[in-house]
Structures are given as C-alpha cells and as structure tokens.
Amino acid sequence: MSLEYRLVAFLALAMSLMYTDNRYEYLDRVRFSVAYLTTPVYWLADIPTRVSFWIDDVFVSQRDLIEENTQLRQQLLFAQRELQLLAGLASENSRLRELQEASQAVQGRVMTAEIINVSNDPGSRRVLINRGAHNGVLEGQAMLDAHGLMGQVEEVLPFTSWVLLITDSRHGTPVQVNRNGERTIARGSRGDAPGLELEFVPDTADISVGDLLVSSGLGQRFPKDYPVAEVTSIVHDPGQPFAQIRARPLAQMDRTRHVMLVIPDNEAIVGVPMMFDATTDVVEDTPVTNVPEGASPAVEELQPESQPGSQTEAAPALNPAPGSAAQDAAGGIE
C-alpha cells in the first residue's frame, strides 16, 4: 500500500537528517537560514511579556518613580564606592601579575541582551536571547546577569541565539572555591530543582557550606573569577567514593530578563596561547626550571623594601614565588 511506502520514505529522510545533523556541520547553515522564518514566531510569542513590561512602565505613579529613583541613586553611590576600591585593587593586582609575569586576563566589555524565550523541553535548560549573528554574538560566549555566571551561547542564529544554562545537566562549569582556590567542576543537577553539583570532590577537600564558587577559567570558555554559585549542602556518605556537594547558582536563572554577554577581548583570545608562546621563548633563553629564575628578580626588588640585607643569599632558593616573599615580609614585621 502506498501509505506504508510514504511512511518509510519520510522516516528514512528524517533519520538521514538526524544522522547528518549529528555528524556533520552542513545543516548548521540550513538551520541558520531557516531561522529567518522562526524568528517572527518567537517575536510574536514575546509580545505578551513586552506588553506587560510596557504596562509596568506606563502605569506607574510618580511617587513610586521618585522612590525608585532615590533607591537607585543610593545603590549607584554604593556601587561607585566599591568601584573606587576596585580600581585600586585592579592596579595592585596588575602590578603583582607583572611581577609574577602572568598574563593579564581582566575582561571588561559586555553586550546587553534580553531573554525572550525558554526552551519548552523540560529536560534541557536553555534560553533564547534577542541577540544573534547580526549583533556579533559568537558561539561559546559567556552570559552573565547582575549576580553571576548564567551560561554560554550554544547556537547562534541571525537575530537570536540559544544559550545553554549552567544548570543544564549536560553542562559542566570549571569552578574554584574563592576562599582557597580548590578547583572542581560544577555540573547542572539532574531532576527538577535547578542547581549545581560538584563532581568528583574527595571527602577530604576543604569545602564548606556558604563557600563562594567562582569560574576558574580552565575550560577556556568562561572568563576567570566571575561568581558562579554558593555551596548549600555537603553530604559525606561513607558508601560513596566522593562527597556530594550541592550549590545554588548566584545568577537569577528563572527571574531575570536582562543579561550580559561577555565580549572576548582580542588580548583575551590570544591571551592563553600567547602565554604558551612566551614560555617556549623563555625556554630558549633560560633553563626549563624557570620558576625560581623568573621569580628571583621580583624577590630582589621586594627585599630592599622589607628586609634590607638579611638572608639575601638564601632568598632565591627559599622563595620561589612572590607569595612566599610576602610571607617573609610579614614575618619580618613580626
């Protein structure tokens, strides 16, 4: 019967599409062009939200506006005070980094975007944002909100992009504990509650409830040192090889609409490879054990300020890093 033949033909077509889409990248271009058709649908679906925002904006009393305005002024004042402190810290940090000959990796430029839709598949946590290839969005860009890291761009379409959130169970975020630098990977938790789980953390690791997790930048996808999550619970089960640690993302995953995309600076893109180039160049000049060699000038520069003329001969051997030099300085003050 012809019905069965048609069924088989269409099923075969669908399967070959799935195979091609899974294995090769030809279909990405097709998907990109067809997105010109789907974008209006999303635009239409977003109208109710925009209307409600518009109503919020229009029907608001003057008293509320004044109140909000004073509140915002106050917040701005606080934020600017912190920014002033930050400027001092940033310059101090860059000086220390120069001493350590580490690469400069502070990234400041961001692009704002709005979340216009949420994936309707309950098994995946993805959002659609209103910026796409025409706005210069790139695959793999990190997305933040005002409180922390949210996710990364997974698929770029002409005027929109899909962003995979860090709470998706297929997503792992390289993080480190802000308190002591303990590195681990935060994976989106399975099940309904959106959260994060720290994977393969030994029972002896120094992580406690309330610790702030920041991005470690090790996956080379996310910029370093953005806040990611806060540890909420730790269970040491003797029957399990690893501790079960849960964390709550700091970004307001399901409440915020306004987000930021981190624009990778040119220096930041080249930053990591350049560091490798630098080491290979260094290898030509100095021996491979360049850690004490590289650090010793820094130690010499520091010493006249802290301890003039004591243990100068032992210092290069004992102080391989400026960190321990600082410890020495502290010891000298005591």
């Binding site: 269409f10 077509l13 669908a14 997105a35 679906a45 309950p122």
Partner: protein, 162 residues
C-alpha cells in the same frame, strides 16, 4: 476524487497559533503540563482532511518544530510522520467515536509520540533523562482535545476549508 483546495490559510494559521502556544514561556512547574498543541492541531487536520494533510505535511510540521526548538533536525519530523501514519489508518473509526473516547485515543497517541521523541532525544543526548513526568503533557492534551476539536470544526465549517 480530490476537490480543489480551499481555505488552506486557515490550516496554516491554526498551525502558527499552535506553534505560538507551544513556545510561549510558562512557569517552571507548568512546563510538564503543557498540552502538545502542534500535535493536536495536526491530528485534527489529518482526521478532518486526510486527502489534504498527510504524512508529508506532518513531516514538514515536525521539521519546523525542530528548527523552532533548536533541537536536532529530524527528531520530531520522524515522530510526527509516525503520528500521521497511525492517525491516517485510524481516522475513519475515530471520527465516529464520542468525544471522551476520542480523548482516550489522543492520550494514547500523544503519549506514544512523546515517549518516542523523548527516547530519541535521550539517545542522541539532546535532553537529560528525568522521569516520566513529561507524559503529563499527554494527559493535558487529552483534556483540551474536546474543546479544541469543537473550535477547529467551527473554523473548518465557517471558512469552508477542504
């Protein structure tokens, strides 16, 4: 003998509305209970106009769903083609059923197609495995079917779609 097409735009418009309802953001807890609007509209048109809407149209509707959701191309095209085939082979009987019997058929059909979609998505790593709660969508689909059926029948008769 297939009559000349009339009022195809009504079919297209009903699909557009179904797509809109399928992607309109809902709160997290309501995610699992969202009726499968596109499948319901597709089933209705296949049952009403089997000579006009068939496996090919279902396949196209599936592809558009895939693109809209940003999932792997072909997943819903595959399952929608199966849905169309089953509906086509049942449509003459189901037309005679009372509305709650039709709802039962819808429950089974939508549940089957959702399960198939879920399996393919889990196998290809498109989605994470988390329980069978998604089948609530089939239940809510069966629940809204009688009203949707009446509405679409009114539309079909009013605009003389055939």
């Amino acid at each position: 003998m297939i009559p000349k097409a009339n009022g195809i735009w009504v079919i297209l418009l009903s699909f557009l509305v179904a797509y809109l309802l399928a992607i309109v953001p809902v709160p997290e807890w309501a995610m699992h209970y969202r009726p499968q609007w596109v499948m319901l509209v597709l089933i209705y048109w296949i049952m009403a106009l089997p000579y006009r809407v068939g496996i090919g149209s279902a396949w196209m509707a599936g592809i558009f769903t895939d693109i809209l959701e940003g999932s792997m191309l072909g997943i819903q095209a595959f399952t929608f083609a199966i849905l169309a085939y089953i509906t086509l082979s049942l449509h003459q009987r189901v037309r005679l059923f009372s509305s709650w019997q039709q709802s039962g058929i819808i429950l089974a059909l939508v549940g089957l197609v959702m399960t198939a979609t879920y399996w393919i998505k889990v196998i290809t790593g498109e989605t994470a495995q988390d329980g069978m709660l998604f089948l609530m969508g089939a239940l809510s689909s069966a629940f809204v079917w009688p009203w949707l059926f009446l509405l679409l029948r009114q539309l079909r008769r009013g605009f003389d779609v055939h």
